[in-house]
Subunit: 483 residues, 2 copies
């Protein structure tokens, strides 16, 4: 069956607005503060399942969840100078309590490096306490001046999972960066989200970092979205807070840090990448409802009731095997209306049950991704549901990766790079000499953004020349039209 992805690909922005609202995921644009929306119950569960997955991965690798205050006093936020320069234009400030002016302005946290480093300096005195790996899941605030977009560019980012770690040495922190990358890989893999891993260029690393590694993906409109970042912070913040620890050799020194985060964007991608013109396909790993059962009414009332009873029996069977299922037996809507709404909500599997199924002791199962269905005997329904959910995970992931790969192109010609980016967006990979000046020039000429050096590809560029200056290439560089 040929799937329709017209609206999804051509009018992605409208498609996303439509899905978030109509599937009751995230009400955006109607709450009377720009850039802030409301998680509705169905969306909240998707978000919660996503967060549960990352929590599990973090907890099992020695991370400890904490919760720091939302408000950061001005002097604390400004302690690290590069950091505040990177954020000062987008900080919201609390200046009043009741009718009084506050003595000290309080920032709504844009991120928490400063407050966490300050408290760590009270808690941690010795290498024996290290490594320390904290994380929290909080709202962060950015007074974005660019156009805001639901879940993608918000002024209140409500699902910021930020991890902050502390280490004795630079190398230990570098190793932690690798661990964090491994955790995020597992996380995105489990969710079937394809990603590119790039080392951000110097001029685009996190404000206050030694270096930044980023996860990017390609959205349905072929533009690139950053979905996770990992920063090696070195001693930037510990020096700013004059925070020393006792090292193994007895000396006192500033410890090294990393931080890494993901956000609401993960939900945006989850909804976006597996979509079609019927709506999203919620990934089975985090779908709040795995199966919806729709009884097909019979004209004869007695038979209709028997069908419903049979449907309930199937629902109980699935529930007893820990498969989340709901049965939509509302009498006032037609099966057609029900199909529409549950496809729009992206429930992975739909089971239709009519008199024929009841008489044959079967059910009819339809996959949301392919919209293909088949008849299954009742005694095999649990096995088949599990099996189909697994196949869907695999298929969704493959399809999403294929979509992304088709949008990554290689060229050594500057004009062609510009042309591809202008006409097709996606990602262009080019050979690069390693000089910042050539990277910046590249951004200027193509009117695109450098994502950085690919960390997940091994193309042989030993005979290639820098796309800008024609000196020998040192590495590839990724360029994209980004969100």
């Amino acid at each position: 069956m040929k799937l329709s992805r017209e609206k999804w690909e051509k009018n992605f922005s409208e498609w996303l607005d439509w899905v978030l609202k109509e599937a009751e995921i995230y009400d955006y644009g109607r709450y009377p503060v720009k850039g802030m929306g409301v998680w509705m119950p169905y969306g909240f569960k998707i978000r919660q399942n996503m967060l549960e997955l990352i929590r599990k991965l973090l907890d099992s690798t020695g991370h400890e969840e904490v919760l720091f205050p939302l408000l950061i006093p001005e002097d604390l936020l400004k302690r690290e100078s590069e950091h505040i320069r990177g954020f000062e234009n987008e900080v919201y400030w609390v200046t009043k309590g009741g009718s009084e002016d506050l003595d000290v302005k309080l920032a709504l946290r844009p991120t928490s490096e400063t407050s966490i480093t300050f408290m760590e300096s009270l808690w941690i005195k010795s290498y024996k306490q290290l490594p320390k790996k904290y994380y929290q899941v909080v709202s962060v605030f950015r007074y974005e001046t660019k156009a805001t977009r639901p879940l993608i560019r918000l002024r209140e980012v409500t699902s910021f999972k930020e991890a902050h770690t502390l280490h004795e040495t630079y190398e230990d922190a570098a190793k932690q960066v690798e661990e964090a990358i491994g955790i995020y890989k597992k996380f995105f893999d489990e969710l079937g989200i394809p990603y590119m891993l790039s080392k951000r260029p110097d001029w685009d690393k996190f404000a206050g970092a030694e270096y930044t590694i980023a996860f990017d993906t390609i959205m349905p409109d072929s533009r690139v979205l950053q979905i996770g970042t990992v920063h090696h912070l070195g001693q930037h913040f510990t020096k700013a807070f004059d925070f020393k620890i006792q090292r193994k050799d007895g000396s006192l020194d500033y410890p090294h840090q990393t931080s890494y985060g993901i956000s609401d964007r993960v939900v945006a991608v989850l909804i976006a990448i597996n979509g079609d013109d019927h709506g999203p396909i919620i990934h089975p790993s985090i779908a709040p409802i795995k199966v919806v059962i729709i009884p097909i009414p019979a004209k004869d009332e007695q038979i209709a009731q028997k069908v419903i009873n049979y449907a309930r029996e199937i629902a109980e069977l699935l529930k007893s095997h820990d498969i989340t299922v709901i049965i939509d037996d509302d009498m006032e809507t037609t099966p057609g209306e029900k199909f529409y709404i549950w496809e729009l909500k992206g429930v992975p599997l739909r089971i239709e049950i009519g008199p024929r199924e009841m008489n044959n002791n079967t059910v009819f199962i339809k996959r949301r991704d392919t919209l293909e269905g088949k008849s299954v005997p009742k005694e095999k329904v649990v096995e088949e549901v599990r099996n189909l959910l697994d196949i869907m995970k695999k298929d969704l992931r493959e399809r999403a990766y294929q979509f992304m790969r088709e949008r990554i192109r290689y060229t050594e010609d500057l004009n062609e790079a510009k042309k591809i980016l202008d006409e097709k967006a996606g990602v262009v990979e080019v050979p690069w000499c390693g000089e910042n000046s050539c990277g910046l020039r590249l951004e200027e000429v193509t009117n695109a953004r450098v994502l950085g050096i690919p960390l997940d590809e091994n193309k042989d560029i030993s005979n290639s020349k820098c796309i800008v200056c024609k000196k020998p290439a040192m590495s590839m560089l990724r360029l994209a039209k980004t969100y």
Copy 2:
């Protein structure tokens, strides 16, 4: 064994500060914004387990979790006039984004009736969609001018669970108040927290409510703490937002609402009520660690290693039965130091394992509440741990209820009421004519606060006179020195 509760009862405030900091629950007073603290990993887990319990109770009664924005525009917050009068002196205002002044001041939510009612007016059109029961777990902010206290009177309340429900009629909403009370009773009962249920007097109900029912408890210093409230909001907010629905009879009318909340105070009470001079006793229902195993070292290294192996075996055994356990085999601290820290952290059960236990195939289990221990054969350890945890729940609850009941006194004499409250604090119950003027006079004379009419007692007051005006009593009234 006589337990020592000297520090706990006499210097409760210091005791609480000491426990929160030294047991690494909640770091308070060092973060550089007054009234805001940091949940440390151990405290975060206690908080999380508490929240998980209330979520389970709410989810199973048809409540749906949502997440609304933190920021409420000034005009939205001011729409209901009684409401804003009740809160306006304690609202934090965001007035700047970057270096720009915002066009509209944004409040950090003090509570969410206004924003939720506004969105409900977009979502809900008909009685067919009712009842609706939403809840969220969020930070709320109060610019408290009274002395702040950790977890008890905060400027950032980080664990506000607020529920908001919508109904066709006043009666439906009144029934919802009853359901909410039932849910909170189950919640506090499961946590072993004793409570009094009172209908708050008119002059102390929630700003914008028809009436307010409150749960109060008595803290170790004999002062009363409000730990939960349930409000019938009537049509106050729906009228303010001109929000009508279609009723069953076809007419349009404003729907009725309730709201109810609990907060960080539940954690404060959990830690406080079961304390002694060694620290808190974390209630088994929410203890992040149920059992700590402490191997007692032997001089002979080989034997010491065997003891540790045996201890690990016991730990695995408990884990395999879903009992959260940790083994403290740090070689650099003595058993005495370990006893101190784990008692301070309030882990319900401690298992000591030395050469004797290993040779006899036994373990030595000690209860944190009574500090009594006994030897148990290895094959009975899972059963005995479960059994002891159950007994502890019962005993803790009984002890806490006894403590509270001893501090509730009855008098019909105004001077005596004042004397009791001044000298012993606690709660005094008095007969009352039902007039607000007498209630307010009572507060003035006793310099205490009226908690309201008891809903959980049936004392016969048919022959009693109002303690103030001496007219016939209509009901009892509770009075207390409160937090």
